[in-house]
């Protein structure tokens, strides 16, 4: 227990505490910070410009979570119940993208989607279009890139939850006359709820802090909270405001997740 506490303390709590302390400091003109008590950094967040960015970030993170769930659930279900002897190989394939850096994977989409890219050449080869179509630097490219990057975070916990499911319960439901549809909604889905919750949280949190994909695949045409925080630490050299934004993001995420779990019910969390 003790080493774990020290580890958590050093690598999670201390940095978090520093951000909290910084968020009340005053930024020097050239970066750096003077400690003090300046709640003004938090008041700045209520600038309509920044509130809009917060709202946009949450909409994008939520959309991404729902899309990942809609695509990830059938995939996990298929691997567990129809994968048979390929099950381990298939789940390994889900994990393969983790072996390369996110940056490399995001850049590979630039190569696929650009004017001379594989996607456009294929479309032209098949005669679907004559001219290259604009696929990259669009909001759709950003959505696709985010779903692609975060899908494994959804599939893995769903897989774990479905794999543990006692198949005899499904059989019992069907023996008692439930249709397959009924069996799924009344038995399988509720029992996989811990996986749904864990997957949603694992996707939602990093999506809300995402800034690389909107830049690379969206051509920086929009600003999310992740971009805004990064800009404060680098270009604007306003560490205090950047820290206040970080704290706000963490608090908002915590609030959103607590709300989510309250709605779903905590008993579902057992076994997450």
């Amino acid at each position: 227990m003790a080493p774990v506490t020290i580890w958590l303390g050093l690598f999670f709590l201390v940095p978090l505490l520093l951000i909290l302390i910084f968020s009340f400091g005053r930024s020097g003109v050239y970066g750096g910070i003077t400690l003090g008590f300046n709640p003004g950094n938090y008041l700045k967040v209520f600038d309509p410009l920044y509130l809009e960015i917060v709202g946009r970030t949450f909409v994008i993170a939520l959309t991404n979570t729902l899309l990942c769930l809609a695509l990830g659930y059938p995939l996990a279900y298929f691997i567990v119940f129809k994968g048979h002897r390929w099950r381990n190989a298939l789940i390994l394939l889900v994990m393969v993208p983790f072996w390369t850096s996110l940056l490399v994977r995001a850049y590979s989409w630039v190569v696929i989607l650009n004017g001379n890219g594989i996607a456009n050449r294929t479309l032209q080869f098949l005669g679907i279009t004559d001219e290259p179509v604009t696929l990259i630097f669009t909001p759709q490219a950003v959505t696709m890139g985010m779903v692609y990057s975060y899908l494994p975070f959804m599939v893995l916990p769903l897989y774990a939850a479905l794999e543990k499911l006692d198949v005899s319960l499904k059989e019992a439901a069907q023996d008692l006359g439930a249709s397959r549809w009924h069996t799924f909604w009344r038995v399988t889905f509720p029992l996989s709820m811990p996986g749904v919750i864990a997957g949603s949280i694992l996707v939602f949190i990093p999506s809300a802090g995402e800034f690389v994909i909107p830049n690379l695949l969206g051509g920086s045409r929009t600003v999310l909270m992740g971009n805004l925080i990064q800009q404060q630490f680098l270009q604007a050299r306003d560490w205090a405001f950047g820290s206040a934004l970080s704290v706000m993001l963490a608090v908002l995420l915590l609030g959103a997740i607590m709300f989510y779990i309250r709605r779903i019910g905590t008993d579902k969390l057992e076994g997450v």
Partner: protein
């Protein structure tokens, strides 16, 4: 089923755990030091007297000569590291403990670093080759007496465009031409992009006048629907080169690299004036191999090393003594060595202190629109 809606302790801990993971991802962005002064660290090569840790922009030395010749001549082993923008360089040095001996900040960043005690005062007597530097590059506003920095290379920021499609161009306003909707790429650099708008309006690109900045903001808002996006200069280059866009806002060096690959392209310094940027060598406070740093700076300011740099990078050399050895086609190229009347209209980006945040907010507003 879920009658109990109170959050149990274990559930709460899981939630907190998840939140902690999220915030710690963010915290990696911040670098956690209060100090703004770079401290000496134990970076590569420390303890070895014959070492030099050189932190430079990528692709900014002649790979065949610059470093190998220095190592041979002085018996010093050089370790190179690279960065892609001034802000990243500053953040890294502010965090301290980098162990770098020579860095290459641009103009306005020299003044930021000077004011935050990140770079040390130079002993001019140890850099006799300073005499080789052209008068145009001595005593620039960011370091009026060259007490902290020595010029490395210089260039401009302008427009890379498809000459075959667009014909000859000469003004910034082509980046606002509705005819090229969806075919334009701007730089994601606040100072450069604001600078282009300010120049088109006829103002200084170092303006801090709120009304002028407001006008520039309106201009950028007007431009946004025409853009493919905002990119780093090195990302604009392949977009124009491969025909994804017709024109883009780039550093001159990226322009020439693209022209070398695609003969339909050209680079223009707009007639309203543009950025003249100058990158400079400096020694961070706490550098461990100060002797070697002086030797290196003096070596780069030598005629031969300076010429061989420019012959590779296609950026201008501030080194007058190097000119006889620079390829004629580079010296004669008005896009690299502009004629005096164009040179006069170029402006160096200066540090604008507090107004930096005003610029940043405007750019956020534009990108967010």
């Amino acid at each position: 089923m879920g009658t109990q809606k109170r959050i149990s302790r274990s559930a709460f801990l899981k939630v907190v755990g998840a939140g902690v993971v999220a915030s710690s991802t963010l915290s990696t962005l911040s670098g956690c030091t209060v100090s703004t002064t770079a401290k000496s660290g134990d970076g590569g090569g420390a303890g070895n007297e014959n070492a030099l840790n050189f932190y430079n922009w990528s692709d900014y030395v002649n790979p065949k000569t610059t470093i190998p010749n220095f190592e041979k001549e002085y018996g010093v082993e050089v370790t190179q590291d690279f960065y892609s923008d001034n802000e990243a360089l500053l953040a890294k040095l502010q965090a301290g403990g980098t162990g770098y001996d020579v860095i290459v900040p641009s103009d306005y960043m020299v003044s930021v670093m000077r004011k935050s005690d990140i770079v040390q005062k130079l002993d001019r007597s140890r850099i006799p080759n300073f005499d080789n530097v052209s008068a145009d590059f001595k005593g620039l506003p960011f370091d009026p007496n060259n007490d902290y920095s020595m010029p490395y290379q210089w260039g401009t920021t302008g427009i890379l465009y498809n000459k075959k499609e667009l014909g000859e161009i000469s003004s910034w306003d082509v980046l606002w031409d509705t005819e090229y909707k969806g075919e334009i790429a701007m730089m994601s650099d606040v100072r450069e992009t604001m600078g282009a708008a300010l120049k088109l309006l006829g103002y200084s690109l170092n303006s801090t006048d709120p009304e002028q900045l407001e006008e520039a903001k309106q201009l950028l808002l007007e431009q946004k629907p025409l853009l493919r996006g905002y990119f780093a200069s090195f990302e604009v280059r392949p977009l124009v080169q491969n025909g994804d866009v017709l024109l883009g806002h780039v550093y001159s060096g990226d322009g020439f690299l693209a022209i070398a690959e695609n003969k339909d392209l050209d680079y223009a310094i707009p007639e309203e004036g543009a950025t003249r940027w100058v990158d400079n060598m400096a020694i961070p406070v706490g550098a461990e191999h100060v002797d070697n740093a002086y030797k290196f700076i003096n070596y780069i300011l030598g005629a031969k090393a300076g010429a061989s740099l420019t012959n590779y990078t296609f950026y201008g050399s501030p080194n007058e003594a190097a000119e006889p050895m620079i390829k004629k086609e580079i010296l004669d190229d008005p896009r690299i060595y502009p004629p005096p009347e164009v040179f006069e209209r170029l402006e160096v980006i200066e540090d604008i202190g507090e107004a930096t945040r005003k610029y940043e907010r405007i750019f956020t507003e534009v990108k967010s629109a």
